[in-house]
């Protein structure tokens, strides 16, 4: 019986430790982690690459929409894009520091 209590207590301490560590990392990096530390490595790697992939994908879309490179689009075309896809436009402005 005492062995069972000990196991449960150590398990609880371990769980709390893991939880604290996870939330600590989450608050420091601002990354959205799921329960379980196995995901940390994948999340860090994905977050590192996701910005670049987003810029690439958004610029591909702009190119396909207006038939020219994003740097050559006019202000009117940019406003048209912004009206249709406000989050992407806002995010691009932030990411590219326009």
């Amino acid at each position: 019986m005492s062995r069972l209590v000990k196991t449960a207590a150590f398990g609880g301490v371990g769980y709390l430790g893991g939880l604290l560590l996870e939330h600590g990392i989450e608050s420091v990096t601002g990354l959205d982690f799921v329960d379980g530390l196995f995901a940390v490595a994948g999340s860090v790697l994905a977050a590192m690459y996701v910005n670049r992939d987003m810029v690439e994908a958004a610029s591909q879309n702009i190119k396909a929409m207006f038939g020219k490179d994003p740097i050559y689009i006019t202000e009117g075309e940019w406003k048209q894009f912004k009206r249709k896809y406000p989050n992407t436009a806002e995010w691009l402005e932030k990411a590219l520091e326009v």
Partner: protein, 154 residues
């Protein structure tokens, strides 16, 4: 001694296999971080695999509210689908014009007078049908994407 070493190896292999199966299962059920799914969706988009991109985006919002990046990814995928729809519609109207030219056009009379146009028209009709089916699939993909996003936002 050799038996023990083999046991150790088998144990490690088993643990590795179980870990892989566990992670695969978590990936499939949407428990990985949102940024992971957003990235895989964008990579699928890069490969021109809209189906997979929509599936991955839907997984990214399956267990969590869409964050800033997920919202941007949603718009990027929607934009890619819209572009594909516009291109397919252009192609469809081009095919329609070729198949049903106005009476006062040269094409109409050429179609009417030339005897061997039926094979070409048949090919155009098949192409037209293909475009209609593609539009249906794209519309379905767009509604799937929308529903996943709206479910979480409302």
């Amino acid at each position: 001694m050799e038996l023990l070493a083999l046991d150790g190896f088998l144990l490690k292999a088993l643990v590795g296999l179980l870990a892989k199966l566990g992670v695969d299962e978590l990936k499939k059920s949407g428990w990985m971080p949102q940024s992971y799914y957003v990235r895989t969706a964008l990579l699928a988009l890069k490969r021109d695999d809209l189906d997979q991109a929509v599936r991955d985006y839907n997984l990214s919002v399956e267990k969590r509210e869409p964050g800033e990046k997920a919202k941007v990814a949603y718009e990027i995928i929607t934009c890619a689908i819209d572009i594909r729809i516009a291109k397919t519609e252009d192609k469809l109207s081009e095919l329609h014009r070729a198949l049903h030219p106005p009476v006062f056009s040269v094409r109409f009379w050429r179609n009417l007078l030339a005897g061997n146009r039926s094979a070409a028209n048949e090919r155009l009709r098949r192409e037209e049908q293909g475009c209609r089916e593609a539009l249906e699939v794209l519309g379905r993909l767009k509604s799937q994407l929308k529903s996943a996003s709206e479910d979480k936002q409302h």
